[in-house]
Symmetry: C2
């Protein structure tokens, strides 16, 4: 675990800081506030790889002209239960928040709705958007094409696929919502980088080398690939998610994907999709939520394997983290604080501590 | 591999035989023909665990009164882009063929549609239904709650989840459609039984015992559980699929699941769902198909690992099998032929060879 600073920051302070940075980078205040809200939300729920750590790379890309800070996000195709958004190369957070709003509205009328986006950008953790319908007592699903390819087709060597994530959020009654947020690879690439930083070996199963042998030294990660979950099944899932979130929307997929770690200026044409499902169309919403509660409690009460202290539901740990960090504030590592100080200095705004 | 008979049966002969059996079991001729068509289709595409091998257990369940042979399958909830079917405990094939028809019709108007079912039954391979929208140039998705629990929650010992499958079918242009059909476990339970029959060991990763150690002797399979793909990720996926296909529809989930191998008479209240997405709502269908072709060709042309002869797309092997078995007829194992002979004898109908 990285060292954690003693200082804790209320979410509101982080929000103000990110909003100030985004405004300074050229976003209109209302848009800066949305991006700040969602990036802070990611940090609060413990998606630290998608939270404040992204401010520096977002700032770098915006300065390089790789993101349109004043996009005209618009519906280019529409039917009763679907819409296709052109994100006009704006921040992905803005595009997908809009997509979620449209999906929720259409699902209220039609029972279900699907909204895709092209010309979007990285939008943070998938669960942020899958969770948006929850406030309307709806189920949310989210698919995205990742912004760097780390996965070859099964049996292949060319990295043509990304860790294309899936997130699904299901409302419960008294229990926290069930929120699955998963990459289609065994480990996300960020976990490999973290192992390398700490000088640790990776477990067998995370990566393989070009001969198909297990690769466990994270310093050699450039010599191999991430393993898809369930082998060829995860490969198929990554491809399908890419077809639904990318190809269907006319967004980048396969070799068209821009590696946003290496290319800061090209339009990524990122594709994402959100689905909203209204359980109230299928029956009484309270009965549905009671059935979800019953299932959650039954799974949690299962007899446990030796050494297992608790059975967790998908998203339950993030939910607990969010509750704790809202109460106690955000604990940020000294490395992240230093990075945020650099961003503040470069932009000529007060740093997080002074915001 | 099981021994294969020299005799090959045209698909049409298998269809006539299954239809005769279903009629004799009490299904109206039109319904018997649909079930026969879909069971034969499963066999033709190589889903042999879901094809003709199911005739004997279906017959047993129908005779035990576990299936309604004259169901009143009806829409009980409906909005522009969704419907909920009550299958009235009919054969799952009839319920889900009807669900697919409704989803396709609604997606044509709304762009996307979702149709769930409760009080359905086992319907064969998931891909059969995901593929139905393909004939209408649409994408199909299918979710189902499996009919026997083989999976505990992650870290648990109580088998409360099934191998709940997901299938997605995406139309292509000149290439075969991309068809993913996967259980959320590393291996399906049928594969474990096949290993036991052949006296072979299972690879590490298929099953674990109650202490969490790898279980590789398929004869000891009752002492352990199937492993979900990607560990806790596959557990989450199995739960989410169950929530979408079961809980949302008011169908059985968790401890409510009836094990259809052990209980032949109780109503299973099986839940399934199908989604149809019309790519023509998102843009020009031919352009979409051309983009799918481009992606397929790019993945297939990837440099390969040593020893890998070909990179396969999801569903490409089933597609090739279907083409071959339509041309050459179905090759059935002597064990399966003997089983079908017994069914024919019990029902007093001509056996497959004489049909």
């Amino acid at each position: 675990m990285p060292e954690i600073s003693q200082i804790r920051f209320p979410g509101a302070q982080a929000r103000r800081f990110v909003a100030a940075a985004m405004e300074k980078l050229g976003l209109p205040p209302a848009d800066a506030a949305i991006v700040a809200e969602l990036m802070t939300e990611a940090e609060l729920q413990g998606s630290d790889g998608h939270g404040l750590i992204r401010l520096a790379p977002y700032a770098r890309r915006i300065k390089a002209g790789g993101v349109n800070v004043r996009p005209n996000i618009r519906v280019v195709k529409e039917k009763a239960a679907m819409a296709l958004l052109d994100g006009d190369n704006g921040m992905g957070h803005l595009v997908m928040q809009r997509a979620a709003q449209i999906a929720i509205e259409k699902a209220r009328n039609c029972g279900v709705a699907w909204v895709g986006a092209r010309l979007s950008n990285h939008a943070g953790p998938a669960s942020l958007y899958a969770r948006m319908p929850l406030a309307h007592d709806m189920i949310g699903m989210y698919y995205a094409v990742g912004n760097a390819n780390h996965l070859p087709p099964w049996g292949g060597l060319d990295m043509l696929l990304s860790t294309n994530p899936i997130a699904v959020a299901v409302p419960a009654g008294e229990e926290p919502p069930v929120v699955l947020d998963m990459a289609t690879t065994v480990a996300a690439y960020g976990k490999v980088k973290a192992k390398a930083q700490r000088g640790e070996q990776m477990p067998v199963g995370w990566m393989i080398d070009r001969q198909g042998n297990p690769l466990t030294d994270p310093k050699r990660s450039e010599e191999g690939f991430l393993m898809p979950i369930g082998g060829y099944k995860g490969y198929g899932l990554a491809m399908i998610v890419g077809l639904l979130a990318g190809t269907l929307n006319g967004a980048a997929m396969g070799s068209e994907t821009i590696d946003f770690n290496k290319d800061h200026a090209s339009v990524t044409n990122t594709g994402q999709a959100i689905v909203a499902i209204d359980p109230n169309a299928f029956g009484d919403i309270d009965e549905f939520k009671a059935r979800v509660d019953k299932l959650v409690r039954e799974l949690r009460a299962s007899e446990r394997m030796p050494g297992v202290e608790r059975i967790w539901m998908p998203g339950e740990q993030s939910h607990a983290k969010r509750t704790a960090s809202e109460r106690d504030g955000l604990a940020l590592s000294p490395a992240l604080l230093a990075q945020l100080d650099t961003v503040a200095h470069d932009l000529g705004i007060p740093n997080l501590q002074e915001t």
